[in-house]
Symmetry: C2
Subunit: 258 residues, 2 copies
């Protein structure tokens, strides 16, 4: 099966059930997005959480309550069916996964689309620094850290980061490059020793897959859009729906540095 | 009376009632902000309005419901007393003005602070392009336009712009310079003929004061943080509290291009 070249094509395939996997490398040059859907009652507090934590949660679009079409970033799309895989989070239960959330969408549901690191992954690869997880055909490794987010309402908890190993020289280039993509998490939040930000075992990510770290490389950490999944656990909201890690919403926006 | 050099000093004077005038030129180099206070019930829709209209409404800070301290941009400040003059908007009535809104602040009040053009006025002046209203000691002229904002919930209506006359050559410099201040309305929304954006009489601004336009100059228009005052009229919210035009909240943030 060929890789879809546009967001519209990927979304149609996800809707038809013919694309069920991760979206890394799909629709090159088009911005992908993290998804968070919650009841309107919690939408202001979550918006506030994003405003206070712009590195993990750069807001690309927010829908009108009850309307599943993100008309500013993907006219005609349906957020209930156009992602390959969703996670449904309920208080006290492990998250479950599903390919369609039509039955969970309510008249007061509000969807947030947050910028994703795939945008600068693409820019890094174009600059000759191919992220290791792309090279190894894996999902990017993600870790819960000991760094706390700025709380808002019931939303509070650890910053989640993604990690790309590279030489110190490449890390310098990658830092300057990613800083130009503030809607895609911007510059790294940490370089080097994982223990400094509370990561005990770099070989065991909390989300995604481990990747090889070669001799002479350092881990470089970026704020990650999976952070909301780590801060909703104690918020008591039933349910919160997100994308499954690595299975993003693909927009029509063209990736551009700012 | 000397002009206060810091946001903290201006806020203390406003609180004590010893500074009652406009804030242009106050605390040079510190970001000033437009203020909008509304009940939590409307806070999500207004946040959405700002997200969809980032040029007139660049969000600097949003308070927790009921807490009048904008702790991220001015720790210790009190938004109920620290502006020199407020406007209180009630449906069907002309706005009234007051120097203290303590009695109107409720446990569910939410305050939004939005970036202000005084930031790039300062940068323009530093670049040798002194905005005419500063030169003439007036409030910047502001106009309701025929350009519609992107609506959200009950918030809909015209874009309000501020105007600075300058030579075409200076307009080019000012455009490039202001584009580097996205949290201060960014680049102009229009240059030249006022009629194109529905302004009938450039000599009669809807807010602020008229300024001299010299031969060879063109009017240059920027999105303005007074826009919310033009879109709340039909929203049926009782009350909405804003700053009085020109009487801004002075933050501790240092003006910096991005």
């Amino acid at each position: 099966m060929s890789v879809p070249e546009t967001g519209m094509r990927l979304r149609a395939m996800a809707r038809a059930g013919t694309w069920t996997g991760p979206t890394a490398g799909v629709a090159p040059g088009h911005a992908q997005a993290n998804l968070v859907i919650l009841p309107r009652e919690f939408a202001f507090d979550f918006f506030l959480f994003c405003q206070r934590n712009p590195k993990p949660c750069p807001v690309l679009d927010v829908t009108d309550p009850g309307n599943p079409e993100p008309s500013r970033v993907a006219p005609g799309a349906d957020l209930r069916r156009d992602l390959p895989l969703y996670r449904v989070h309920r208080p006290g239960l492990p998250p479950s996964e599903t390919a369609d959330i039509t039955d969970l969408w309510k008249s007061d549901s509000v969807a947030f689309l947050l910028g994703c690191s795939f945008t600068f992954d693409h820019a890094l690869a174009a600059a000759g620094i191919v992220p290791r997880h792309m090279e190894e055909g894996r999902n990017v490794p993600m870790y819960r850290t000991s760094v706390q987010t700025a709380p808002a309402g019931p939303f509070r908890g650890p910053l989640v980061v993604s990690m790309r190993p590279m030489t110190p020289r490449d890390a310098e280039t990658a830092t300057a490059l990613s800083a130009r993509f503030p809607r895609s998490h911007g510059a790294p939040v940490h370089l080097g020793d994982p223990a400094t930000i509370g990561i005990r075992d770099i070989g065991r990510p909390d989300y995604g897959d481990p990747v090889t770290i070669r001799p002479g490389e350092i881990p470089v950490f970026w704020a990650c859009g999976v952070t909301p999944q780590a801060v909703i656990a104690d918020a008591g909201i039933d349910p919160v729906i997100t994308h499954a890690p690595g299975h993003m919403f693909v927009t029509d926006l063209v990736d551009m540095p700012e």
